[in-house]
Symmetry: C2
Subunit: 237 residues, 2 copies
């Protein structure tokens, strides 16, 4: 049964713009905004793409980075936060132009019956937009806590507040989750019927990320705290 | 003991250009070219960054993609291969300008004694250059086999040759491993002495990628082939 209230509205659906429209593999497009949010809450590394240099020397650069999202943030559709040293080249230039943040988790290797139908299972989100350099003190503090808690949920509440010096050394970028697309692939290969008839084996190898036991450093004393051990258990698969 | 032949020459050392020089975190720089090669042989996903559009509409886009390397390829310092549909927007524009390919593997979450000293353990390579659209038939065929074997070693030898139609539908990009840099972080946090004194716990959570048992698709008959089962066992950790 479908009612008017079941139909996804603008806020629930990823409505691609010309920049985030998926060209190839539309069958792998994910249209539900809440799947994007769930994925971004779970994934651990973002790849930030931006243009550096100018004229004939201009070139893209792609850097791996930690991130967090805040669905209650000031931006329409939620906010993705990145942080870095105020001395980092990419942070100085980022707010002047559009950037692209891509978050990917690999979920499997797909063994097709031909080279052509080999593939990977994955979830991947692409967000494009002009970032905002966060200068509001409270938003910066909150964003930094969210980035820590994205890595280890609950951790920030156990730590001392950041010092003025630490905050001054850290820049925070905010990117609205407005212009976003998501793709996902799972399952086995999409082989040709004639290859299936021949009897070659086809299927996939599931992959997942797991954690080992937390490793205390040389100065650590006492029990592993609950936030750290819970994170390790949660990723133990 | 160090002799002249032990000293790294140009071919052994990653000599960054202005574009690949590491700005922040020089202590994490990896200078040995063979460590780059070992890492690229092991990592599974690349993120390709390129510029699309022009003028005020120009923006970077970052796409996850499979890849392979060939140290015996035609390019100085070895070749990184990417492939995609000939219909893909990014493949049409890529050879006209510099691209950036970044390959990252996440190795752990670092729980510092302050928000500031939280970090991630990782290995990451950044390669910048102008790619070459591979039109030589033999090089294309070899590159596609390498990409399959990068996912599942030994797999390509078990498959029928690609058809003319499949090859016509697939474009291959080659990027020389000339302008490349690599960074790696491992171990625990680099905390402030005053935070260590307070007795907060610090350490890290190791992360690794593992595989589950191969999943046959509905049409698969018989034993899982050795290439697939070996890959799964190899990633079982």
């Amino acid at each position: 049964m479908s009612t008017a209230t079941d139909a996804p509205g603008i806020a629930d659906t990823l409505s691609p713009t010309a920049r985030t429209r998926i060209g190839r593999g539309r069958n792998r497009m994910v249209a539900e905004r809440d799947r994007l949010h769930t994925f971004l809450a779970e994934a651990l590394v973002a790849h930030l793409g931006l243009m550096v240099g100018s004229g004939a020397d201009a070139h893209p650069i792609v850097l791996p980075t930690a991130f967090a999202i805040d669905l209650d943030g000031p931006d329409q559709c939620g906010t993705l936060y990145l942080h870095g040293s105020v001395g980092a080249r990419w942070l100085r230039t980022a707010p002047d132009a559009s950037i692209c943040v891509t978050v990917t988790e690999l979920d499997g290797l797909v063994a097709g019956r031909s080279a052509f139908h080999h593939s990977m299972n994955y979830r991947s989100a692409v967000i494009i937009g002009r970032p905002r350099l966060v200068d509001d003190h409270d938003e910066r503090q909150r964003a930094l806590d969210l980035i820590v808690d994205h890595m280890i949920p609950g951790r920030s509440a156990t730590l001392r507040p950041s010092t003025r010096k630490e905050l001054a050394a850290t820049a925070v970028l905010a990117l609205g989750l407005v212009e976003a697309s998501m793709k996902a692939r799972d399952g086995g290969p999409g082989d040709e019927p004639e290859d299936i008839e021949v009897g070659v084996w086809g299927g996939h190898i599931p992959l997942r990320r797991v954690s080992g036991a937390p490793v205390p450093d040389d100065d650590a004393r006492g029990q592993v705290p609950a936030d750290v051990s819970n994170r390790a258990v949660g990723l133990a698969g």
